[in-house]
């Protein structure tokens, strides 16, 4: 029995619930997305919503922001029934959402994007550019982005700055409730810190902030209360000061998470060199020195660095996606040059990409089809698909990775983020790769699935696969890696061995002497 | 028609004299055609080029269009000819109204303009205050020839349908009016009248469906031979040999059909010669003859198996 400790502890200033949600239900066909959600927000608090992907947080946010209607239950805002018919109405009432996916128009300027919902007009009904730029300037200054030109197109910004622009757009309107849906997913630690400062000042203005995140350390750093979701229900709401991250995780998964510690496992003993990279420069790398490192069989090497430091480019270069400008790659001491992913795959290399929606998965296609995508020979005979072989193999792969799914013929889009990522892994494991490149292997993955993925990756290393992992989450690298290479400005700033692992050491190298330049280009 | 031929021959003689007199300075004739994708105009162009070679006393610049409705390129062509300073423009207008104003400009620039194939709109000419003769066949009269042949063969009260050309095109309108005149004269029973956009496959489809709706059709008047071919194929598929078909244009492909009776008649308007004849008339005026007046009708002839 889950502990339903609906604590009605007094909030900082007022105890009256500002927004209360009672017994909310929402069905999509036969799927119960929300199955009894109850919680309340108090004025001026920062309230975290946590839960595994698919637990119902996103659906709740979409209901609050007027995207979906709900089936049963009720919502009261300041004592009145709240049931927005569309997103516009929700905004009018003062409920703003910063979505997980970007809603910016790439080719328009930052100013245009910020004013897109309400373009200022001159007396003659024409676009008032001056006013538009002024508003944008104000909005950016408010969150400390004083160095950005509002006339520049959004496409000139990096992913982290786009997120900040998105936030500034939401903040320019007077909001009563600001919902941040995984705002830090694409931010580096430093940018996250800046965001938290902004959130704190918003809170000081009396705005209620709803904070959705997979990162419990963030939740514990800035939130006042936390509500845990599981299987479409709210399990508990707790004061942050009364609980611990471990306690929250337990409620999220409904069981004790096998402590995924790095200390218990037997040390791995790396074998021969699988890949040797010498002065590798991809086309995206403006510098000439390039990067050099070794990757051995049976070891996990982590690559850390800020967004834009050239981490992804190394993987793409190794896999033959991006052309290589200079430098050499040796595989098993042989000089190799891959003219495309096909060559790399034939040489036993797999690549779990950063963005599973754009590069890793075919969302509308069945789970089985995605698992066999890189291994079509195994499930076909002279060009004809062998469906029974495909299903058998997919089932085997799925059970090995503890994949949770309905039917193998369901589209991959029906899975939660963690299970989608497992499908990506299954796709590459189907080829029994010798070398596996992974870019942000647990982005947008919930805590439970994250631990399972770590177990899988470690097991692979034990079986002798060479793994190269790029990640923005330092705890992830610290958990997984045998060595960590820290990148900045397309160059390796240093290499850390296990005893030296700490977030501090990584950050020191990542920012290093080039901190300022790094921030500008991010 | 005789008068016309004599006049043409005389003009030819005169022009040849003029030709020898100023060998280096041949008159330049700009020929503006409609869509060369239409084999009727293609044949006309070939006729004009042969004519240039034969006469040898003038220089021909010919311009065609992309498709039937592309009259903008005709307007551009007129303007280019004015800039080039040609002596005469011989034009088959794609639109009977749109072409009047640019042609007026050409006349004001002292260029002899001859309008053939499709007559410019009388109302528009009056508005622009220009007098311009028309050299060409009587599409309505030609269609009536074909329609009358059908009427004679079938007799009063026979049930017929019309397959029209592009709605809005002048020659399509004229031919429809000609067919309708025959319908009135021979008291035929017009069951249906539809466009097949001059095209064989569409005529085949449209007529098949008309035949299903009206199995008692006795005669078909098609506004061109391409569509008549489609009708004939539809009749073959339906296994009907009791329905009389007439067409228009006398393209080579219908020759065998007329011979073996699958088609009753078509109309030849001697398209191959039409541009050449108009050029002769234009050169005559360039050489000093009087301006043309009214409607200079070119020959048309009913073609049947005999």
């Amino acid at each position: 029995m889950a502990a339903a400790s609906h604590s009605a502890a007094p909030a900082p200033e007022q105890s009256a619930a500002f927004l209360s949600v009672e017994g909310l239900k929402k069905h999509f066909g036969g799927v119960r997305a929300l199955d009894g959600v109850s919680f309340s927000l108090e004025k001026g608090e920062i309230h975290a919503l946590v839960g595994e992907n698919g637990a119902g947080k996103s659906t709740l946010i979409k209901i609050l922001s007027g995207v979906f209607p709900f089936d049963a239950g009720r919502i009261l805002l300041a004592g009145e029934s709240y049931q927005p018919a569309n997103p516009h109405e929700a905004k009018e009432i003062g409920v703003q959402v910063v979505h997980q996916e970007f809603n910016l128009l790439d080719h328009l300027s930052i100013a245009e994007n910020i004013s897109i919902e309400k373009m200022p007009r001159t007396r003659f009904g024409l676009l008032d550019k001056q006013e538009m730029n002024r508003r944008a300037r104000e909005a950016l200054d408010a969150i400390g982005l004083t160095d950005i030109d509002v006339k520049a197109p959004v496409s000139s910004l990096g992913i982290a700055h786009r997120q900040l622009v998105e936030i500034s757009r939401a903040l320019q309107f007077k909001s009563r409730i600001l919902i941040l849906d995984e705002p830090t997913a694409t931010l580096t630690e430093r940018e996250t810190k800046r965001l938290f400062d902004i959130v704190a000042s918003i809170k000081a203005d009396g705005v209620t902030v709803v904070f959705v995140s997979h990162h419990l350390e963030e939740v514990f750093a800035i939130c006042d209360r936390v509500t845990v979701f599981r299987n479409g229900k709210t399990i508990a709401t707790d004061q942050i000061v009364d609980t611990t991250p471990e306690g929250v995780v337990q409620k999220m998964v409904g069981r004790d998470l096998a402590a995924s510690s790095r200390n218990e496992e037997a040390p791995r003993s790396p074998g021969n060199i699988a890949l040797r990279v010498e002065s590798l420069c991809t086309a995206a790398n403006p510098k000439d020195r390039g990067v050099s490192f070794d990757l051995r069989y049976g070891e996990i090497v982590g690559i850390a660095g800020l967004v834009g430091s050239g981490r992804t480019e190394i993987l793409r270069g190794l896999f033959g996606v991006d052309p290589i400008r200079s430098g050499q790659i040796f595989q098993d001491t042989r000089d190799v040059r891959f003219s495309g992913p096909r060559d790399a795959i034939a040489a036993g290399i797999g690549f779990v990409t950063e963005d599973r929606k754009d590069e890793g998965l075919i969302l509308d296609m069945p789970i089985a089809a995605n698992i066999s995508l890189a291994n079509m020979q195994a499930i076909s005979r002279s060009g004809l698909l062998q469906f029974s072989a495909e299903n058998r193999r997919s089932r085997e792969r799925g059970s090995k990775l503890k994949l949770k799914y309905g039917k193998l013929s369901d589209p991959v889009a029906s899975l939660s983020g963690g299970n989608q990522q497992k499908v990506v892994l299954a796709k590459w494991l189907a080829r029994n790769p010798k070398v596996l490149l992974l870019d942000e292997p647990t982005r947008g993955v919930d805590v439970g699935a994250k631990a399972e993925i770590y177990t899988i990756l470690k097991e692979l290393a034990r079986q002798g696969v060479a793994l190269l992992v790029v990640s923005s989450e330092m705890p992830e690298l610290i958990t997984l890696a045998d060595r960590i290479l820290v990148l900045a400005e397309h160059e390796i700033q240093g290499e850390l061995q296990r005893p030296e692992f700490s977030e501090e050491n990584i950050l020191k190298l990542a920012y290093g002497q080039t901190a300022m330049a790094g921030e500008q280009n991010q | 028609m005789k008068l016309f031929k004599i006049a043409a021959a005389a003009a030819t003689g005169l022009a040849m004299l003029a030709g020898t007199a100023q060998a280096d300075d041949k008159p330049v004739v700009g020929l503006i055609m409609k869509s060369l994708a239409n084999e009727f105009f293609q044949n006309m162009l070939v006729g004009a080029q042969a004519h240039e070679e034969k006469r040898g006393d003038y220089e021909l610049i010919a311009v065609g269009m992309q498709n039937e409705t592309d009259f903008e390129s005709q307007i551009n062509a007129v303007e280019n000819f004015i800039t080039q300073g040609v002596d005469a423009i011989v034009v088959a207008p794609a639109d009977s109204r749109a072409m009047v104003r640019p042609l007026k400009k050409a006349m004001e620039a002292g260029i002899v303009v001859v309008n053939f194939d499709v007559a410019l709109d009388a109302e528009a000419k009056k508005q622009q205050k220009i007098e311009l003769a028309f050299v060409g066949p009587d599409n309505r009269g030609g269609a009536k020839l074909a329609g009358d042949a059908l009427g004679k063969k079938l007799g009063e009260g026979a049930k017929v349908v019309i397959i029209e050309g592009n709605p809005g095109a002048d020659n399509a309108n004229e031919r429809r009016l000609g067919f309708e005149a025959s319908v009135a004269e021979y008291k035929l029973d017009l069951l249906d009248s539809r466009t097949a956009h001059w095209e064989t496959e569409e005529a085949n489809t449209v007529f098949s469906n008309m035949l299903t709706a009206h199995p008692d059709i006795q005669g078909v008047m098609a506004a061109n031979d391409s569509m008549a071919i489609g009708v004939v194929k539809a009749l073959e598929s339906a296994g009907r040999d009791d329905i009389v078909v007439v067409g228009f244009d006398n393209i080579p492909a219908v020759g065998p059909m007329i011979q073996d009776g699958r088609m009753h008649a078509t109309v030849d308007q001697f398209g191959t010669d039409m541009a050449a004849n108009s050029i002769d008339l234009a050169l005559e005026v360039v050489g000093g003859a009087d301006q043309l007046k009214g409607w200079v009708k070119t020959p048309i002839k009913l073609v049947t198996a005999n």
Partner: protein, 332 residues
């Protein structure tokens, strides 16, 4: 407390799900409604002769639409099929009327000439648009003009005629009242259905339409798959040219103007997404039927040409709007 596997709601459809069945059923129902309507309100609609007519009349569009389905599934479009059909017909017409061949050889020559012409044009479209990653819309618009010009050039804008009698026989042959040319088209539908659903090639075409990058990163040569889709589209244009010639016994260089739009309409009405990745060739078959039945029925009912054109346009829009709602409700 039960632990169930939670799934996020999905609004997209997949060809493997129950939804795709619903999808085709939806179009099938629309077709059934049209057929019922015309059966009630016209005298001759449900007669054997008229059914034969409809089958003959949709054949060319169906053949073109089958090829178009491949191109649209990978997120492309081919505007050149009508012109390529005319070009192939003219080349084949030249071949079939070459002196010195018996009827059998002449027909074989024509078939080879038409398919090769179609394949060459389609391959050109595919290679150019895939190699430089250019929008196929504009490349095939170019090909539309190239092929039309070539058709006029090769034929001197003359209609080519007098083909061997056996060819004509084939064009009008029937099996139990079903035109043989339609059976050819139906066979193409079957082959396309098989290829799209049961081969690696078909699977990857759907994949490319959904997420080209994912397919490329999985080590597949996206370039050649795209070229193949366009080549298939060109091939069907060549086959349509043969059907045209056999049915009308002429080759006209101005044939097929606007046919590409009818073929695209059949594919889209059939539920294939213009964005690619979703759809089926069975839907295309039903889409071609809807267009053909409508064209036929509205003439039988005696509607004027202009009204007919308007209603055809309205029905296309209604079909697509209905499909939107059907997909939405099927997802719930």
């Amino acid at each position: 407390m039960t632990t169930q596997t939670m799934t996020e709601p999905v609004q997209k459809t997949s060809r493997f799900s129950v939804r795709s069945v619903l999808q085709n059923a939806g179009i099938g129902l629309a077709l059934l409604a049209l057929i019922l309507f015309f059966s009630v309100f016209t005298e001759h609609f449900l007669t054997p002769n008229n059914i034969t007519n409809i089958l003959t009349q949709i054949t060319i569009n169906l053949v073109l639409a089958v090829g178009m389905t491949f191109v649209i599934l990978i997120g492309g479009i081919d505007l050149s099929v009508g012109s390529v059909m005319a070009f192939a017909a003219v080349v084949a017409g030249k071949a079939i009327t070459l002196p010195g061949f018996g009827p059998a050889e002449a027909i074989a020559l024509a078939i080879v000439a038409a398919t090769l012409t179609g394949v060459a044009c389609g391959m050109f479209n595919g290679v150019v648009s895939a190699y430089w990653s250019l929008p196929s819309f504009i490349i095939t618009l170019g090909m539309l003009n190239i092929a039309r010009g070539a058709a006029l050039h090769v034929s001197d804008a003359q209609t080519i005629y007098s083909f061997p009698y056996a060819f004509e026989e084939f064009g009008s042959a029937m099996v139990y009242g079903i035109p043989v040319v339609f059976l050819v088209a139906l066979f193409l539908v079957f082959v396309a259905w098989f290829v799209l659903n049961f081969t690696v090639f078909g699977r990857l075409l759907y994949g490319i339409g959904n997420n080209e990058e994912a397919v490329r990163l999985a080590g597949h040569s996206v370039f050649w798959y795209k070229v193949a889709a366009f080549t298939i589209c060109g091939l069907t244009a060549g086959i349509a040219a043969i059907v045209y010639m056999a049915r009308l016994n002429i080759s006209s260089p101005i044939a097929g103007i606007g046919f590409e739009l009818n073929a695209i309409a059949a594919v889209i009405i059939g539920g294939t997404s213009l964005a690619g990745g979703r759809g089926s060739v069975i839907g295309t078959l039903l889409g071609a039927f809807i267009i053909g039945v409508l064209a036929n029925g509205l003439i039988l009912i005696g509607l004027s040409d202009f009204m007919r054109q308007m209603i055809t346009g309205i029905v296309i829009i209604i079909a697509v709007v209905l499909d939107y709602y059907r997909a939405k409700y099927a997802a719930k």
